[in-house]
Structure formats: structure tokens, C-alpha cells
């Protein structure tokens, strides 16, 4: 049809040449318009042909035959070649180009409680710059640089000043991915104790609630676990069919144990002893129940406080979580055992939490109950005592990147007045 139209337009042009002089300017204008439209038709036809599903490999006009792909070295093996495969600029180490990708997380809070001396305050939470870089096909860098306000709270002791921000390198890891069964990370990472610690890291936006369960609080926020480690971590799948077994094996510096404890719990640069901490975790993600993960971990270290006997530390943790887009149920329990050498008494600190939530559109109400019970004579964290209580809240996802959470916490503490707290949090990613 288009051909007919074009032929007829040429006839029109031919006939137009014999028009009277009075119409000539108009005819000339129309002929120009026809020429323009013809050119446009030609362009559209060409574009239509380009869109046809003819194979167009990046490096040749004609598709390469499968036999040519089988030749050694003929195909892209690395990330840089993959980029070339799409015809875009190759991604390789180039001083004129950064390979960094940065994702940000942050939160701003309004918090109030009934504790004596506390005031209702707006609080800047953590500003987390999550940095990744695909160094090569097998190596990747991953880091979390966190800016947060002080003071720190380490085993009940405060350090630093109010309202002063500091910078922490919370994660700094070089990952090597050999295959599905063997991956190695070196650097500072989150210890694979239980589930929560390695699932949410330093982003409140990912978390349903406004904060971590007390058991998994960070070391500088009153936490009792060696949440961070500096060392080597290996992980991967275990051939187990539909059971979906995974392992994590870690060797690291462990937590600092020289007095005073409250200086810096994470041994980033120097280990205060030659002994290393070990952690082994095993968990299953069965195919039959998608979203279910259940597992346990064993952490072992020896602490050496000044002027007191060495303390063997064993942390046994178990978890069962079920997470689907609209529903989550997290359950974790653990025992922290501290066994001073030469003493028959072992200090055991049990703890658990359960958290359940259900999404209704943009709203997600949730409930958490947590418990931890530590002896008043506990040699490492004597300030904890027994604390337990529920938290109830609602999360509203205002957009895909912004969440507003309102949470009420009631915490009873042994020999202290119970704490009622209300928090409003704006968590976001950018």
C-alpha cells in the first residue's frame, strides 16, 4: 500500500507541473510537504525493518553461528566482556572510571520513654553508605560506612559525647565467589550467629521494627553478642537436594576481653591474644516450604580479662524463620555460656525473641516479644540482668523507599522500674 501511495504521489507531482500560474506557489508548497512526508515514510520503513527480530550480535552484522561460539576464547568470560556483549563500554579497572556503587540507608526518629532523666527527642539515626564494587568475575568488594551520633553504650558504660557524630566502618569485606559451594569473605563482617545479625545489618529500612532485638544490639549500643568480627568467613551450599543446606565457617579475632571492656569491643586492628574465635553455622532452606529457614550456630572463643582467670565463651544459637512478602515470623533462641577457668560455675545467659508481622497493602502491623536473663555476677556484661517484654507497632510504606514506623515497647527489668517507650521512625533508602 505504501508503494502505491508513493507512486501516486509521484504522479501527483508530475500532474502538478502543468497547473496554472496562480496556483503555482501553493503547489510548490504542497510538493515540498509531499517530499517531507516521503522522507518520513522512508525513515519509518527503515526503522521498522531495524526492529525486526533478526539476530544482531554485538560484534558482527550477521549472527555468529553456534559453532563459532564453541571455539575457545571466542566468548565473554568476564564482567568486562559481558559489558562488551551488549555493545556498551567495557567494564574494567580504569583509573578514569569508578566501579563503586553506593546505596544509602538512613533513619530519623522521635523517641520518648518514662525513664528518669530521659527526654523526648528527635534523633538522627544511622546514615549508612553501603558500597559495592564488582572488582572482577570472582571478586567483589562490599562495605558499610556508618555515621552515627554518640554516645556509645558498651556493656552499660557510656563513651563519647552527646550529639557528636562519629564514623564507623561497620563492614569491609572482600568476597571471593568460587561456586555455589564455596565462597570466602575476608575483612570485617557480621558474625553468623543466628539469623537476624546477618539478615539486616545496619539498615533500619529493611527491618520491620524500629530496631534490632536486644539480643542482637550492636556492641556500641549495649549489645551482648560479638556482632562484628574481623577475620575470614567461608560459606556456601551443602549438597543436600531439596533440604537446601548451607554452611558458614568463620575464624576471627573475636571480642576484646582486656579491661576495660568498654574501650572498643571489636578488634579491628590488633587482637589482644593469639587465640582466635571460631563460629560454625548450618541452616536449611527447604524447597518444600519456600520462605522457611531453620538452623543453628556454635561460636567459641576464649576471653582473657586482666587480673582475672581466662573465660571460655560459647554461644549456642538456633533459629526458625518464615519470610514471605506478605508474612514474616522470626524466632531465635540462644544461650551465652561464660566459663571462667578454675571455677566450677558456668554463667549462662539465655535469651530469645519472636516477631510476627503481616502486610496489608502498604501497612504492616507487627509484634515482638523478647527475653534475656543474665546473672548479676555475669563477668562480661553484668549490667544486663533480666529484661523482657513486648513490642507492638505498625509499619507504613509510604513509597518503595520510605517507611514510617510507630512502635511501643514495654520492657521489665529485674530490680528496676519497667520502661515504657514510644518511637516514631522514618526509615529510608536512597
Amino acid at each position: 500500500m505504501l508503494l502505491a501511495v508513493l507512486v501516486s504521489t509521484r504522479l501527483v507531482q508530475a500532474q502538478s507541473s502543468g497547473e496554472t500560474g496562480t496556483d503555482r506557489p501553493t503547489v510548490q508548497m504542497l510538493l515540498q510537504r509531499i517530499d517531507q512526508l516521503e522522507a518520513r515514510v522512508a525513515r519509518l520503513e527503515a526503522a521498522k525493518q531495524t526492529d525486526s527480530p533478526t539476530p544482531t550480535p554485538a560484534t558482527a552484522e550477521k549472527p555468529r553461528m553456534p559453532s563459532s561460539q564453541d571455539e575457545a576464547g571466542s566468548q565473554a568470560e568476564t564482567e568486562s566482556e559481558q559489558q562488551a556483549g551488549t555493545g556498551s563500554e567495557p567494564e574494567r579497572m580504569d583509573v578514569s572510571k569508578t566501579l563503586l556503587r553506593i546505596r544509602g540507608f538512613g533513619d530519623i526518629n522521635l523517641h520518648g520513654d518514662n525513664q528518669k532523666g530521659d527526654t523526648t527527642s528527635f534523633t538522627l539515626g544511622q546514615l549508612n553508605l553501603f558500597v559495592t564494587s564488582d572488582i572482577s568475575d570472582k571478586f567483589k568488594f562490599l562495605g558499610e560506612i556508618v555515621f552515627e551520633g554518640g554516645p556509645d553504650n558498651i556493656y552499660g558504660q557510656t563513651r563519647g559525647d552527646n550529639n557528636v557524630f562519629s564514623v564507623d566502618v561497620e563492614r569491609m569485606v572482600l568476597q571471593y565467589s568460587r561456586n555455589d559451594y564455596f565462597n570466602v569473605s575476608v575483612g570485617r563482617y557480621h558474625t553468623a550467629i543466628g539469623y537476624y545479625n546477618t539478615a539486616y545489618h545496619h539498615s533500619t529500612w529493611f527491618q520491620t521494627a524500629t530496631g534490632r532485638p536486644f539480643l542482637f544490639q550492636f556492641e556500641d549500643r549495649g549489645g551482648i553478642l560479638p556482632v562484628h568480627s574481623v577475620g575470614v568467613s567461608a560459606s556456601g551450599m551443602v549438597p543436600s537436594g531439596g533440604l537446601g543446606l548451607h554452611y558458614v565457617a568463620e575464624v576471627g579475632n573475636g571480642r576484646a576481653s582486656r579491661s576495660p571492656f568498654y574501650e572498643e569491643p571489636v578488634q579491628n586492628v590488633v587482637d589482644d591474644q593469639n587465640h582466635k574465635a571460631f563460629n560454625l553455622a548450618l541452616f536449611a532452606r527447604p524447597e518444600a516450604v519456600r520462605g522457611l529457614q531453620a538452623g543453628f550456630s556454635i561460636y567459641r572463643d576464649v576471653l582473657a580479662p586482666n587480673k582475672s582467670p581466662r573465660i571460655g565463651e560459647t554461644i549456642l544459637a538456633a533459629h526458625a524463620v518464615y519470610i514471605r512478602p506478605n508474612f514474616e515470623w522470626l524466632n531465635e533462641a540462644m544461650v551465652i555460656r561464660h566459663a571462667p577457668e578454675g571455677l566450677s560455675h558456668v554463667f549462662q545467659t539465655p535469651g530469645f525473641y519472636t516477631q510476627i508481622s503481616r502486610r496489608f497493602g502498604a501497612y504492616r502491623p507487627y509484634f515482638r516479644y523478647q527475653y534475656v536473663n543474665s546473672s548479676a555476677n555475669e563477668p562480661i556484661f553484668p549490667d544486663v540482668g533480666r529484661r523482657q517484654g513486648p513490642s507492638v507497632g505498625i509499619r507504613y510504606d509510604a513509597s518503595e523507599s520510605v517507611a514510617l514506623k510507630l512502635q511501643y515497647d514495654y520492657t521489665s527489668i529485674r530490680n528496676q522500674q519497667a520502661i515504657s517507650a514510644l518511637a516514631l521512625q522514618l526509615g529510608f533508602t536512597f
Binding site: M1, L2, V5, S8, T9, V12, Q15, S16, E19, T26, V27, L30, R33, I34, L37, E38, V41, L44, E45, A47, K48, D51, P53, T54, P55, T56, P57, A58, P63, R64, P66, Q69, D70, Q75, A76, E77, E79, E81, Q82, G85, T86, G87, R103, F130, D137, K140, L142, V173, Q175, S177, N179, D180, N183, A199, H201, S203, R285, E287, P325, E400
Partner: protein
Amino acid sequence: MQRCLGRLVIIGMAVSGLLGVCNHSARAGGAPPNEQDSPEGNLAIVVNTSNPVDTLSLPELRKVFLGERSHWPNGRRITLVMMEPGQPERRALIREVCQMNESDFSRHFLHGVFTGEVFVSPKTLASPVGVRKFVFNVPGAIGYVRASEVDSSVKVIRVDGRLPADKEYGLRIGPPAAH
């Protein structure tokens, strides 16, 4: 003069019609409307022709497209190729294979990269031609295109033992979601 105007109108209609065809092709990814219900409108999972994998079960495919498996049995790293958000093929894959919506899928990958469990994010390409080109050139790549877009530059793998032309094939693109 009148004839000239008449021809002009005809050309105008032709141009309009051609523009309409092109726009429709762009919206529908080049597929005529009646392809939605035909085998050619099914979603074909494509890999590089050198990939030894010929068939995957739906749960295995889900693990691949959720980044839970990072390597093929021959040791090559899996590189996921996704089409841009809003494309019907992408919607179909996320719905039928990942059993999620776009928002949950994005969040899943962001979380996976954040925890370190997902080594590399999916590559996002704009067109079926781009997907085929990428899969053709990258031995570990896996992507998807409308079955009618498949050519000999890529290999279609069976899902639960079935190819897109089979009657019981489970991955249908379906009608575009209403906006």
C-alpha cells in the same frame, strides 16, 4: 489542486497508520495482540547455546532468577538478564517464576546484595534484541524473551520438561497489567 490535496490526505493517513503500527509494536514488544493466547506469546527462557543445561524445573528456575544459585553446573557464573520494569515479559517472569510483584522483586535483590548473598545484580536490557545479543555473547547468561522472538542465536531451555510450544507450558505472558 484538489487531487493534490487528496493525495496529501492519503499520505497523511499512511504516515499516521505507520506511526500507529510502530507505536503498537513498541508497546507490545513486537507481538500482535492475538499472540497473547498462542504458544508464540509464551515466555521462552533462553541461555547461551554453549550452556549444557537443557532443562530446569520451575523451583530451580526460581532459584536462578532470585539469585539463590550463582553458578551453572559447569562452573560458569550465572548472569541474569532482565528486561526493563514495565515490560510484559518481565512482569510475566516475576509473576510466574519468582511469584512476586515488581516491588518485592526489587527489594529481594537489594536485600540479597546488601547481605552479600547475591553476588551480582541482574543486567537490565531494554529490548528482546538486546537480551538475545547479551545471551549470545555471554556463556553464563540466562534471560527470557517472547517465544516469537526466539532465534538460533540462543538456546531455549525446557521448564519442567516443556518447551514454549507445548500445550502444558506454564510460563505465559498474559495480558498486560492495567495501569
